[in-house]
Symmetry: D2
Subunit: 368 residues, 4 copies
């Protein structure tokens, strides 16, 4: 089987999630589209990177990501570094001819995101912005039902990503540093909400809203509140916060159509709530274990009813990318491409602007 050399930037949370995916693809998806060969891993703390290299089986560790960019045996550069480190290494890797996957948010704002997209697209490599929640089986089932017309005309999309770890003034990570992170809940959580809104329901046209910081002196936003109107005529609310006590990873969304509704909560990511206005006297939302739903990724795993974990979304995501590389196909339709990463940033920026001006903001996207 053909191999592809992997260069990984980042060894912490995302480094672990992506490395796990590379390792599992080699045997859980069988036969894999390409066999990942873990060539090199980079990060600032060399001791930690060396430990990660040993742990995950990378052939070498380095504290200079440029070594990965320069390594001809690397065919895919995976950027799981902090947001401030997305642009330069990703662009450099693409310009060195490597396919690239970059964690979200693509850039720290729309301008930086556009720059990354534009520069990378010009090289012709495959690019994927790691909105891994597109790769939750329930989300993909939802997308397929929507595309098949099972919901009819869409009336509402409402999405909120609720976490609760931020309500502590003593916290101090790069995620609160505006230079490193660009923003707070906005880029970290709202970007996911916007991406799934776009993936499931199409383009937003206008937004109103604002970002908000609860902790005095904190330099990034703690929460984002927005209303949205979509090009398809549907309307809704979008929300993201790190201050919803008791909600650890509650990315919840609901979509209401003329003929059906769907609802989801990431804390129960194996389930999709499905309502069909099908005339059955027994009318209500079904709790669908998506393992049952003839779901395209489920074949990798276990018999129905044996649930999968959050980590597997990365297996699906990178498998999708490797398939596009191997077959020469497109990263779309599941994506997300760097254009998707850029567009999410435009929507996030529009909410920020609305908060600053107090005015409804109309979306417009740049093209290449």
């Amino acid at each position: 089987m053909a191999e592809i050399g992997i260069g990984m930037l980042g060894y912490a949370f995302m480094g672990k999630a992506h490395s796990n995916a590379f390792k599992k693809i080699a045997y859980i998806t069988w036969p894999p589209p390409l066999v990942p060969r873990l060539v090199g891993i980079a990060g600032r703390n060399l001791e930690a990177v060396e430990d990660a290299a040993q742990r995950y089986g990378y052939e070498y560790a380095t504290d200079d990501w440029r070594k990965l960019v320069d390594d001809p045996s690397i065919g895919l550069f995976d950027n799981g570094g902090p947001n401030a480190l997305h642009a330069e290494p990703t662009i450099a890797a693409a310009e060195a001819g490597k396919h690239v996957v970059c964690e979200k948010p693509l850039g720290r704002d729309a301008a930086e995101s556009y720059e990354i997209w534009q520069r990378v697209a010009a090289t012709g490599v495959k690019h994927l912005c790691a909105f891994n929640y597109r790769f939750v089986p329930a989300v993909r089932l939802a997308r397929e039902m929507i595309e098949a017309g099972e919901l009819g005309e869409i009336r509402h999309f409402r999405g909120r990503y609720l976490q609760d770890w931020g309500d502590d003034p003593s916290l101090d990570t790069w995620r609160f540093d505006p230079d490193a992170a660009g923003s707070g809940a906005l880029g970290d959580l709202m970007a996911h909400v916007v991406d799934l809104a776009r993936f499931l329901n199409g383009e937003p046209e206008t937004v109103t809203g604002f970002t908000h910081t609860f902790i005095p002196g904190r330099k990034v936003d703690d929460a984002v509140e927005a209303t949205v109107a979509f090009a398809n005529g549907s309307v809704g609310t979008l929300e993201a916060t790190r201050f919803a006590h008791g909600r650890r990873n509650a990315f919840q969304w609901e979509i209401n159509g003329q003929k059906a509704s769907l609802a989801f909560d990431m804390e129960r990511l194996n389930e999709l709530q499905v309502f069909r206005a099908d005339g059955d006297r027994a009318r209500g939302f079904k709790t669908v274990l998506v393992s049952e739903a003839d779901q395209p990724w489920w074949e990798f795993w276990w018999p129905p009813g044996h649930i999968i974990g959050w980590g597997e979304t990365f297996v699906h995501e990178i498998h999708h990318l490797l398939g596009a590389i191997a077959k020469g196909g497109d990263v779309a339709p599941v994506g997300a491409t760097f254009e998707d990463g850029y567009r999410a940033a435009e929507v996030c920026d529009a909410i920020v602007r609305s908060g600053e001006t107090g005015s409804r903001e109309r979306l417009s996207y740049r093209t290449l």
Copy 2:
């Protein structure tokens, strides 16, 4: 036991709900603060009103609400008529010295609501705007927990009232007539959301958002979307719609505080979801059957675990009003007073204005 004569305007949905409450108060709450004597019932369709009089035991039926206003044996005038019929009869009854309860929304907009409040308050009678969801035991438990400081500083209030009966162009009721109803989902559903937001979380300071109509030619709004910032520093989203397929009566709200969170769904109105950040290793939302919670209205009913229905909220509400009349006390703190009815209308109007202007709207309330 002392009696109070009741004059009821309206015999349909709200006429039934209120008449049931008057009848049950006489024996379920024991001893009742005042025994309701069902004197007269009014409505436009005399035949239907006469049937209702026989059904509920009113001494007479009339197609002229002025007869109730003129009847000296009536001490409480209950206005359950369409929105356009709230102002004149309610004011007339109060000016005739009767205590008044009026269904929500108080008026069709803030100006009309203010007029009703001002005129009625000037008479000195007791007045209650029938936001019956204040009288759900779970909502009152929530209020008590918040007032006791169990949530700490509040970070978020998010509320949405989702129904699904509106997605049919052939529908034709007074609720779609702007003269009769004033508005659509706004006055019907969002008014409830705003009232509970105020009851639980205090005054909104700013809103952004808009109303939306899906059905071409329909003259009232089908849905409302808003963001909100409150005087207490919390932020959130507010939503109301008649287009959420599968959600029949899903008035859902969640409030996140520094120390605890609460969540609720009217389709399970006997339950409150309670999260406490209390250091217990076993951390999560409790599903609290409020019958258990030493809840002030529960003594009227059954042993814990034997749930009550939506209709009982009116029993609690009118019991509260009769208590205030009997004891000479205030309709507050549970309320809602006509001032609350007026303030809900101001918030609703502000959302409409925001939709029209595209700008963030700051709330300001008139006083007497």
Copy 3:
């Protein structure tokens, strides 16, 4: 409208529940089959009975139930007294020509229950054993789905009635007195489980199991555990306990068929869980708000989504009985008749015998 005079024995929990039903039938079910006239109420504590008479509007109170039996203006005798007081007054009332409703368990064991059934049936009056859970809309919907063949062949019935108030050695009520109650969780809770098992799934053929008492010195059972095989070929478990901490009124049952499954919890009595093996890719249990399900009793109440309470089961139950009296029809098919009361007792006795002998017990029912 025709009236029927009511004589009520019992003024506490069941006296309140039944009196509420009589009062509501007169206006919530419209037109009522017969208008209940609350003639007399009896109980041992005269002061309490007199208070109840005033509260509910009975024309007189008495501490001698024979006065009700002798009163020619009473057409329906309602026995809500302790179990030891079921047989004699009920038989006497029937022999005096009154229709009778008696709380469950019908007698304290099968022999006493048979005696009541036999003696009452001989008089030709209508008789109803107050298994009110047959009158939960979700239970009736389940029965209708089963009768319509929507489940196919039945594989399993499992039922458990879990409460948690018994785990306190200091408790002292008539419910722990074997003479007054006959048994503990067996007659109080397991009788309900057995009745719904029979109502939904038909006759048990064999049982194994036992009763158990946790509190030393307590003279009635605290819990009952059983396996069961039914005449229709299905099998399952039956359980009842007052020692399930956190379960206040959790009468839960599930029925699995070849084509569909149903599940229920009395703490959410407005909901039925419905699974259909209908080939839909989106496969799962629906949470059906039964208010939506074109349910025969729902017309009495509110629009869909506005839930009803536990107390309303008695409204449905007595409405059903009054209909049978008014129209001369049968209390069946919804029932339950005194024969149903007797049969539940036979099954309960068989579980007791199995516990004593250690052997599987085969059911056999006596006939008139």
Copy 4:
């Protein structure tokens, strides 16, 4: 890091689950107690085994398990073959000095299970019967709470394992062959129920019940129904079935204590329902995301709220075994040992006997 050579018997469902575990232990648990080296894999279909060897990275494939037993580089023999193939290879491997893990049920009945335990224990190797549900974080949290006395005296254990794939007469796998499988739902599902009952609640003392086969001509049981009394004074029901439509992998159990209750469903294996009778006015079951609960296995995975899948239970299980091998400690307390495998078989056999004799069966266990 020290290595241990792995010999795997079985390449299908369990072969995949265990191989995945061996591979993940090497990097998810860090540092691993021993690094698994995948030496050989055996099975009857050589082509399929060779494919599996390539997929998971075993050094060789064989259709003769004796080759694994004879291979000195193998230190741990993992038996994931059909039930009929548990005894001989497992005993042979142990007698060849290899540590052994064997899938459940240990043997096809108590006699065979005892033989395996006795023979293997005599060799002094570590032995683990792969009751992987002990390694669900929620189950371990439950065990820790019980051991810490947080539940007080236990009143009830009720367990049921509901699946729904069996209701099809055309099915034909080794699982329906009594020689290969020994039994149907009994060994496949009830063995799990019994094991967790023992793990959480201690030894059963008596059982009543029976096995049942729905499909004419099927030679193994489709369902098992039982009552149980435990040595600790608690009582309950036990059930297992492949005929519960809509329940794909619903291993549900509940345990009620004087001070707290716990409930669980394998279809939501990241959650534990926890009720504490702690006097909080807001009383109810918590939905605990066990990722939050300072759970000993969680450190391997992701931040709280990012759920894990069913497959990870095997990672925990084999990590536990490797730890015992590396440190020379005991496989207990989490286990399960082969003695646990034997004891589960004794309880299953007792239910079978009760069904045959119609009598209550008292448990007694053999010792070495």
